[in-house]
């Protein structure tokens, strides 16, 4: 993109967002970008930094997400246990996992500077470690990375970055779900891997920026979890190469959001136009109409990943989309996207259009067999 076009594009995104500040993405949000890459509504809203949670609330479809304070407390307690005494527990794990020598114990808390300096301090420390390869520190606690997403800087806070003599960096991800007899819940490991991949990408971007080889950031992240039912931490290396390529692809797509914007009305905006008291002054109907201008690609998986899920599910239901029932069903229906259409084909009340002959035949047969068997 040339700079003029880029500026126009970024302006367009600002207009879409309107008067609200851009919502910064955390690692979880960035990881979620890769969850439903086919959805234009989500891609556009994310690129513009729209607060989807607020938007969904305003149109009357709040997302069913919430976190229990028990889970939050547990997470915090476990993280501080792993990090206490200069990361003593983590050091034991890394000695086992990465074969650190006894001399490698250094610890630096990036948060020792004011919060406004944390990002540049992280940069300086990583640069020094990479340049001198001196291993003064193994642990960089509370680092702050940044990642540029469609013109907006998101700040990311990995748990710990580990540096090894020999010049490799590892992202350490501390999670409080249990690893029981060597096994953790696959969903949770997958989510942790997606999140850690965002940190790997951010650190690699920083390394490249500083003129170092980005590949010195390992694609193996260190996942630290409580072992069995106790609090004692255990660790495993998780290869996030796949998550990295998915993420890389998705972030490149973000810049292609430009093409998604092309067909949209010029005056389209998702602005809530909050008044002085912060209460949106824009009518919910108007915002609903604006949202409907950008096509969504709803799938039941959205229910666990996207703030807009309830809105999009409602829309899918209202227009009788087979997306409502899940991809598997849609596949079984040979890609027929309307529920009425599919039923019509099955019951013979609707003629198959070109290309639908095969699926129509199958559905009619299925319908006959079902009727026959239930008789």
């Amino acid at each position: 993109m040339n700079s003029l076009r880029e500026r126009a594009f970024l302006n367009r995104l600002d207009e879409l967002r309107g008067t609200m500040p851009a919502r910064p993405h955390d690692a979880r949000a960035i990881a979620a970008l890769a969850a439903n890459p086919g959805c234009a509504r989500r891609a556009v809203m994310d690129a513009a930094g729209v607060d989807k949670d607020r938007a969904a609330r305003h149109v009357g479809f709040p997302a069913p997400f919430g976190q229990s304070q028990f889970a939050i407390t547990r997470g915090n307690v476990f993280e501080s246990l792993v990090k206490e005494n200069g990361c003593a527990e983590l050091l034991r794990l890394l000695r086992e996992l990465l074969g650190l020598s006894v001399a490698q114990v250094g610890y630096r808390d990036v948060e020792s500077v004011g919060s406004h300096l944390r990002h540049s301090h992280t940069r300086a420390l990583i640069d020094r470690a990479a340049r001198e390869d001196d291993g003064t520190a193994v642990f960089y606690d509370h680092p702050l990375f940044s990642l540029e997403i469609a013109g907006h800087t998101s700040y990311l806070e990995p748990d710990v970055v580990a540096f090894q003599i020999g010049g490799r960096f590892h992202i350490v991800e501390i999670k409080s779900f249990g690893m029981i007899d060597g096994q953790a819940e696959p969903d949770k490991v997958a989510a942790a891997a997606r999140q850690a991949a965002v940190y790997v990408l951010a650190l690699r971007t920083l390394m490249a920026d500083l003129g170092h080889d980005p590949e010195r950031v390992s694609h193996d992240v260190v996942l630290v979890c409580p072992e069995n039912f106790a609090n004692r931490p255990t660790a495993a290396l998780v290869d996030v190469r796949k998550q990295l390529s998915v993420l890389g692809r998705q972030l490149t797509r973000m810049t292609r959001v430009e093409y998604l914007l092309e067909g949209l009305p010029d005056d389209l905006t998702f602005d809530l136009a909050p008044g002085e008291d912060g209460v949106p002054t824009r009518s919910a109907d108007e915002l609903t109409q604006a949202l409907l201008q950008v096509p969504a690609r709803y799938a039941p998986d959205c229910l666990s990943t996207c703030d807009m899920c309830m809105f999009c599910r409602h829309e899918a239901r209202a227009c009788g989309s087979t997306d409502l029932l899940g991809r598997q069903i849609r596949d079984q229906l040979g890609g027929v996207s309307g529920m009425h259409e599919a039923l019509g084909l099955a019951e013979g009340t609707r003629e198959a259009v070109e290309g639908q002959e095969e699926i129509a035949r199958l559905l009619r047969l299925a319908d006959r067999l079902r009727e026959e068997s239930l008789r």
């Binding site: 039912f229 299925a366 068997s373």
Partner: protein, 489 residues
């Protein structure tokens, strides 16, 4: 997921109510099941918070852990659960039957077996975790627990492991059992919500399934069926109650926690028994009894294992054990699928759709037809069936018939919807076929290449012959002190 199920889901959306996808029930439902609804503390792997448990819909027992991070209270909870569960299990141990078997010693088998019903798959997994965290405990030594706790742990482990066996009914997840028989107008993911699923299957009068399911998604109206509780409930109700208990562990404080948790469990308790009634209302498939018999055998063997004083189940399977288990699961899955298709024309229809089965009318029969000469002469009746199904069976394929056990045939020719079959089994020993063993012209028949005669297990070595590539022979699992004293925080 077949086109038939997809169609049923579309109909469910249109008609506003779930559609049957079977004609019969394919799981066993006990006359006296035990319903167990466990809740856990959010953020913890296996910290029990509460359970509602019992066999009488009118009298559930509520067990709570007023401070889930307290180890003693957790074990007290486990002992309380044992108090309900163990007598229930023991009630089935006494009455047995003697089973004769060809070429082997006769053995004893319990006449009935316990059945535990939990709301969903997560509850089944959590049951396994509760078993894992209690079965290695000891009644003596450091950190002693009540003697019933390790026994409870072994049983919970047994039930959770066995529930992974396709076709087993000793531990059923209600959402899975219901989804096996009904298709709703929502996705499979949303079917994991018991209240929503039942909303589709049996909506309140005057309400559509869709509306009922939507209502069921509101945690204020329908608390989640667990094991994880609603975060809003945690933050607004449970946390203050637990804090009050911490500050003053009085009976009143315990009551407060109990009352709070009861509000979360009561609705699910009622849903569970509604699920039981709905499943009972379906006629039972003919092979359900056979599979329950296998469950009874499995239960009996575990009772014996415990009586013999065998150690608790290992933390992990050895290499051979794991391979055998996997092969066993695959076999059970295949056999279970075939059995259900044979029991249920609606499931058989899925195979008719793919051409692996067909149904039609007999248009010609030659019951006296034979092959070979003299002593090797064999009776091979021929029949021709006309069908509208898209048959994809080639000549020589061996087929069976769901309508006739012990009957087998071979495809001779399949042309233009007319299939000629040669009957090879099930005619009796005489020179002419036993009466009724050969279908007559005009009769409706169905045949399928799906036959439940799976090879016995792949030749796996015994555990003591485990090759070194797989770690060599495993040591017999001897739970040690570490197991017994393992922290449970």
């Amino acid at each position: 997921m077949s086109a038939l199920t997809a169609l049923a889901r579309l109909r469910a959306v249109r008609d506003g109510v779930a559609q049957r996808i079977t004609t019969v029930r394919h799981c066993h439902i006990s006359d006296q099941p035990l319903v167990l609804i466990p809740l856990k503390l959010a953020g913890e792997a296996a910290a029990p918070l509460a359970a509602m448990v019992g066999t009488d819909p009118g009298h559930p027992r509520l067990l709570v852990v007023p401070q889930p991070r307290n180890r003693d209270l957790r074990f007290a909870f486990a002992a309380g659960l044992a108090e309900v569960l163990l007598p229930y299990i023991e009630g089935f141990e006494k009455s047995t039957e003697t089973v004769e078997r060809r070429g082997g010693e006769p053995y004893e088998r319990c006449l009935d077996a316990p059945q535990i019903l939990v709301p969903n798959r997560s509850a089944a997994s959590f049951t396994g975790l509760l078993g894992r965290s209690t079965r290695f405990r000891r009644a003596e030594g450091p950190y002693p627990v009540h003697p019933s706790v390790p026994l409870l742990g072994r049983w919970l482990t047994y039930f959770a492991d066995r529930s992974q066996q396709p076709g087993s009914s000793v531990l059923l997840a209600a959402t899975e059992a219901l989804s096996l028989h009904w298709a709703t107008g929502q996705s499979g993911l949303e079917d994991a919500n018991l209240a929503a699923l039942l909303g589709w299957i049996d909506p309140p009068p005057g309400m559509s399934g869709h509306r009922a399911a939507e209502e069921a998604e509101d945690p204020l109206l329908w608390p989640p069926a667990g094991p994880t509780t609603d975060p809003g409930f945690d933050n607004e109700v449970l946390a203050p109650a637990i804090r009050a208990y911490e500050e003053a562990p009085t009976d009143r404080a315990v009551d407060r926690v109990s009352q709070a948790l009861r509000t979360q469990l009561d609705p699910t308790w009622r849903l569970m028994w509604r699920a039981v009634d709905l499943l009972r209302s379906l006629p039972e498939g003919s092979r359900v009894k056979d599979r329950w018999e296998i469950d009874r055998g499995s239960f009996t063997r575990f009772v014996e294992r415990i009586a013999e004083g065998s150690p608790p189940q290992a933390r992990r399977d050895g290499a051979v054990g794991a391979a055998a288990r996997l092969a066993g699961l695959e076999r059970a899955r295949a056999s279970y699928d075939v059995q259900r298709a044979h029991d249920d024309p609606l499931l058989m229809a899925e195979y008719r759709l793919t051409g692996e089965a067909f149904a039609g009318t007999v248009i010609a029969a030659d019951p006296e037809h034979s092959e070979g000469e003299g002593r090797s002469r064999k009776l091979r009746p021929l029949i021709t069936v006309r069908t509208g199904d898209p048959v994809r069976l080639t000549p020589g394929t061996v087929v069976g018939s769901p309508d006739r056990r012990g009957h087998a045939a071979e495809i001779v020719e399949a042309v233009d919807g007319e299939i000629t079959l040669k009957i090879t089994k099930g005619m009796g020993r005489g020179r002419t076929p036993a009466p009724g063993s050969v279908p007559e012209p005009g009769e409706r028949v169905s045949y399928t290449s799906l036959i439940d005669d799976f090879q016995s297990s792949a030749a796996l070595p015994g555990p003591e012959q485990t090759p070194w590539t797989h770690g060599g022979p495993p040591e017999e699992y001897e739970p040690g002190d570490d197991d017994a004293q393992e922290e449970w925080l």
